[in-house]
Amino acid sequence: MKGQGITFRRIKDVFVKGLIILMAGCSVVPLVAILYYVFKQGIEAINWDFFTQLPKPVGEVGGGIANAIVGSLLIIFFAAAMAIPFGISIGVYLSEHGETKLAYFTRLVVDALQGIPSIVIGIVIYIWVVKPMGHFSAFSGSIALGIMMIPIIARSTEETLKLIPFSLKEASLALGVPYYKTMMKVIIPSGLSGILSGIILSIARITGETAPLLFTAFGNPFFNFDIQHPIHTMLTPMSSMPLIIFNYATSPYDDWHRLAWGTAFLLLVFVLMLNIITKIATRKWKVQF
């Protein structure tokens, strides 16, 4: 190799380091700019009416997104109710029977499911649920989001339970505790923090999902939540925060843009909070033995 002077090599070294720092710094700027802009625009839009009123028709000033907030919460709640037990039990299976052929395929499917575009899940749920029922419904939105939650919960459960030492299980079994009770009362509780943070993370992931809701929950400008018939409510179209952002942002009305900024702010705060909680939870309650 032709020799290069040490000075030249060192200059090159410093130059590259500077370039790398510069590029990495540059890439963070627009991302932080998004946060700043949404916060700035969003805080202006938020007031009491924003949380308590329904969207007003075009031309009237004011209004809020009460229906979308409740809609989002309901859709997420039902999605979580379906996905959490399912996801945890897949995770337990993977950590307990990790070497079987079924586990191999399950792991493959869980990995693949995480990467499937959410709009494809929307299409499939439309074909499975919306078309046979004949109308859009919040419930179908919950199913779509639930399917997207399962892989995250299953993976975090599996990873957490793998960390729990075998001696714990042996001790429990040696005391004559049946296998299922060992799992339910010893193993799962000791990994609870990891499982919980997986659940929170999965909720953070699906809260902002819009694409699958377009064909399922569809949106609804009215407040149709009836506390006495929650099941019935879930069978009607329902608004949610991401849908509001999408519909209002692409509309030509300034007042709707204002509502959309407020909604974006609220959604962002919610998602970031959940993410931060997950971070703190994984650090504080780390599963360690």
Partner: protein
């Protein structure tokens, strides 16, 4: 009170055995169910796109006329739009992700500053795509429009280039954290050997780290590409939604995902719907392959 007799009685043992069997079967059943769901998703997509496959065949992928009124469905412009936006986003974002990976994986792997940086990037990966699209529509589009006017291009503002920029922003955190992960796994003894031979840090990076983790970087890019291909909301808001093959980088276009998002609920006849589903099936298969491949490569590290 449970006594020893009670615990060992035949009835109790029988009940225990039953719950035991139920528990293990339940676990197995849930694992089987998720596999079945995946297969069902695939079959549903294929079956629902059969009408379109039957009536259009390969013309679906090779013609570029999309006219629901005359039942002509050529998805070429959308295929093209998806490929060009995703690849462009990948090209824009990869140098930055690699720079990021080197900074946090090699130069400053520890310390409070890099921890904060790492956390920020991971949080940013969680911003919903609809918010990226919203921001793009109100901040990025006007900026790009003024530049387009300066350079004398038709000032659409929205279009292929704008969408690619936003896509690049969206996939950057994802590929950056993957690449950071693989770069930090370069064995220390190799690096020490290189330093002891008198290499500078840049030479270590160029001749040791990059070749060592090249497959990992490739996997990170692949997974990021998978994200970009299926990304819907931000692109739908920014691409301009025209049904022609985009004439220039700055012109409006459409991607497969954005066409589905715009037209699926409004499609009246069977072939129309199934043409849209066929695009969904295409996205499904492509992202499936990309994801499985990418994850297999990452696992080797």
């Amino acid at each position: 009170m449970t006594t020893f007799q009670n615990l060992t009685s035949a009835k109790h043992i029988k009940r225990l055995k039953l719950s035991e069997a139920l528990f293990t079967r339940g676990l197995k059943l849930s694992a089987i169910t998720i596999v079945v769901i995946m297969i069902a998703v695939f079959l549903t997509l294929v079956v629902s796109s059969l009408p379109s496959i039957k009536s259009l065949g390969f013309k679906f992928l090779t013609t570029s006329e999309w006219d629901p009124v005359t039942s002509k469905f050529g998805a070429l412009p959308f295929l093209f739009g998806t490929l060009i936006t995703s690849l462009l986003a990948l090209i824009i974002s990869t140098p930055f992700s690699i720079a990021f990976g080197l900074l946090l994986g090699e130069y400053y792997p520890k310390g409070i500053f890099s921890q904060i940086f790492k956390n920020i990037i991971e949080l940013l990966a969680g911003i919903p795509s609809v918010i990226y699209g919203f921001w793009g529509l109100f901040v990025l589009v006007p900026i790009i429009r003024t530049y387009e006017m300066k350079f004398g291009i038709l000032p659409y503002g929205v279009g292929i280039f704008t969408s690619s920029l936003i896509l690049a922003l969206m996939i950057m955190p994802y590929s950056a954290s993957l690449i950071t992960q693989v770069i930090s796994m370069t064995p220390a003894n190799l690096k020490e050997a290189a330093y002891s031979l008198g290499a500078t840090r840049f030479e270590v990076i160029k001749k040791l780290i990059i070749p060592y983790v090249s497959s990992g970087i490739f996997a990170g890019m692949l997974l990021a590409l998978g994200r970009a291909l299926g990304e819907t909301m931000a692109v739908t808001m920014l691409i301009g939604n025209t049904h022609d093959i985009p004439k220039s980088l700055f012109g409006p276009g459409n991607t497969m995902a954005s066409v589905i998002a715009n037209e699926f609920t409004e499609a009246p006849d069977k072939v129309y719907v199934s043409a849209l589903v066929e695009m969904g099936a295409l996205l499904f298969v492509v992202t499936l392959i990309i994801n499985i491949l990418g994850k297999q490569i990452i696992k080797r590290f």
